[in-house]
């Protein structure tokens, strides 16, 4: 891992003639590829709740995450590399979040900021609250806190950079031949419906129906 550090990019086993030293760099493709990506992670400009305010503070002059290459907040998902899910995800909002995630081009990353986005947080028991965005989209980094301080958010973003450093161009999913499936968008029914679970829901509601039709059987079993 230590050789993945940015300052080690220039140190190679190869001797560089002294007259062109400082003008030529020899490195591996993975390192230069990841270095470029990790230094220009553009988040999608998208705030959900309280955590969004701390995200704004992190973007402002005191904490300033542009020091790490993240200053360009993009209002359009098409131009973003990373989604900071900053706040409570509700059932009414989750179809839009999944849609935004699908619209982001690969490579894309998701940071679950705060207790609510990670697992529902203090509002977990609420009828309109999704207990963690990872129930719908894959998450790369979880940041604890309610809300996480700007320092914690910065730490989470640096952790994401470390994760990027470990990826290899040979293995990443976005250069594989097979297409990447979009995540099916949840449907607002009597409760939120995940299209991946339709059969499970049918079995569940049928069983419930049978139970209410013959309550005596239920008591026996």
């Amino acid at each position: 891992m230590s050789d993945m550090k940015q300052e080690n990019i220039n140190s190679t086993k190869y001797d560089i003639p002294p007259e062109i030293e400082g003008q030529v760099t020899i490195t591996t493709l993975d390192k230069i590829y990841n270095w470029g990506r990790r230094s220009s992670l553009w988040p999608i400009m998208f705030g959900l709740a309280c955590c969004a305010i701390e995200m704004i503070c992190t973007a402002a002059s005191r904490y300033d995450f542009s020091r790490f290459g993240m200053e360009v907040m993009r209002p359009s998902p098409r131009q973003a590399d990373m989604m900071i899910v900053s706040g409570t995800v509700t059932k009414k909002m989750v179809p839009q979040i999944v849609r935004l995630y699908n619209q982001m081009p690969e490579p894309k990353y998701v940071v679950a900021m705060g207790a609510c986005a990670s697992g529902g947080g203090p509002f977990k028991e609420g009828y309109n609250v999704v207990s963690g965005i990872d129930k719908y989209i894959p998450v790369d980094v979880y940041i604890p806190g309610c809300p996480p301080t700007p320092q914690a958010l910065l730490h989470g973003l640096i952790s994401l950079q470390r994760k990027i450093d470990t990826q290899s161009i040979k293995e990443v999913r976005w250069y594989k031949k097979e297409p990447i499936e979009a995540i099916p968008i949840p449907i607002l029914g009597p409760d939120i419906i995940d299209p991946r679970e339709i059969e499970l829901i049918q079995a569940y509601t049928q069983k419930k129906l049978e139970q209410t039709e013959s309550p005596s059987e239920r008591e026996e079993t």
């Binding site: 909002m93 529902g120 309109n128 207990s131 419906i193």
Partner: protein, 586 residues
Amino acid sequence: MSEQSTTPVVNFLLEDDLTNRFPEYVSPDTRKGYEGYIVSADKLLDVATTLRNEMGYDYLSSVTGVDYLPEGMLEVVYHAFKSTGGSGLVFKVQVPRVNPVVPSLVPVYPGADLQEREAWDLLGIRFAGHPDLRRILMWEGFSGHPLRKDWSEPYFETAGKPFKSRWPEGLIQRSEDEIPFAKNVDYPEGFNPETWVPDKDALLYSSLARSKIHGENSDIQTDTVVVNMGPQHPSTHGVFRVVVELDGETILSLKPVMGYLHRCHEKIGERNTFLQNMPFTDRLDYLSSMSNNFGYALAVEKLMGINPPERAEYLRVIMAELTRISNHVFAIGMFLNDLGAFFTPSLYALEERELILDVFEAVSGSRMMCNYYRFGGVARDLPEGVLEKIHGLVFERLPRRIDELDLYLTNNEIIRSRSEGIGVLTPEQAIAFSAAGPVLRASGVPYDIRRADPYSIYNRFDFDVAVRYHGDTYDRYLIRIDEIRQSLRILQQAVNDIPNGPIQEGKPQYQVRVPAGEAYGRVEGPKGELGFYIISNGKPNPWRYHVRAPSFINLTPFEEMCVGDKVADVVAILGSIDIVLGETDR
């Protein structure tokens, strides 16, 4: 004073006359700990008209419902006030739980519009005569009305906290493991997702005016265009959605759509113990958590009949006023963002806010979610050196920086041309639509609860109620600068006068005893009147816990302000109302 002398003197009816006027339909509420009148549903409109026209209760602050499951009835509770000040009047309507219908008060008090929709959505009370009775926080098609006491969510464990599963016996259960889907969803029996047709907002779009427009040659008809802004939009201040109907660029009608951050605050609040609700109030208007604590503490203290000691009162006022400043500088910064001055003014505004957050972190341990107020006091005293820091802020740094903001922004050509005369709300409309806080005062109504119905120790301080008279977007910006200056005046007096002494009445308790009864506590929050309506039945959890959220109710006149202006002005007008979605949707 000249304002008052020009208004005609009206001999208002006294409250006692209400029962005489409608002897068979109005009776005093005699339940122990309750106040106000119970009105028969048939005569509600007549009583409300009398209240407004003859008794002077022209400002309907809060409308909410209560589910009395044991008594088998639903109750709609109205809190009306006089826009000239003074304490309020409560009146209630009782209807059976099966098929409850109450006449809508929108014709008398247009400010009831969104609140009645909320009561329909969450409690299933139908308001006859409401112009647009749709669900507001949940979506059309959601099963059930969640605030009913016999409705329980998938993760339901017991009616009151603390839950057994969270007791530290090493046996931690996850709610997910109890449910086949491993998330908090539940479906009615026999529901088939394959045949389900989701609501495509047909009701929402049909509520727009949808008028055909005649071209200049009257035989040509053109269609209007419907534009959706949000819920993911950089200038909606969160997950807020606006549907506008346009003729070219001109707005014909507009509907706010909310609920994208509905976190079930009230349902969770009715399960929490009284003290457990305190940190939840932080997350209502997350830009001004101290003010939210203040309102909730006042409401519960009213029920308990206690008062905090002197030093705690001063600490409360200092924190609430610092919150107002931090909220207003943030609001001004974001308003400038909305006008297109992308991020430069708001960086300066955020710099000042950070200094205030440092004070909050020092006294409460958290930058944003302070959880600082307690029933009968505050959580802890000021650490060493913090009073000096506040002193430096309110005497030196903040007055200078506010003057600087004022100097560079107020007379800026672009700001003036984008905001002067845009989104006008007249004083009559502002009162009728129950607008509160800066929105109401920028329309020329000098109504500030700190003066109109003083709470805590605000009657000791020398300050003016900021008021502006044009009611446009520019005045709503200016009034925030005025209010910051008045808050600084209060702070300067409070910092000089703060006495030493205890900060908590009696012993601090985790489980407070709250006698049965109802209470409505209200404070002048940075966004407007923040009210908490609490019903206790003597148990550790409140029976009803309702928040009168200013950001939510200030959206009632939003359409009124926008119609006739251009679509780009929607952003500016919304920025000048200054909503926070945590409070709008709760």
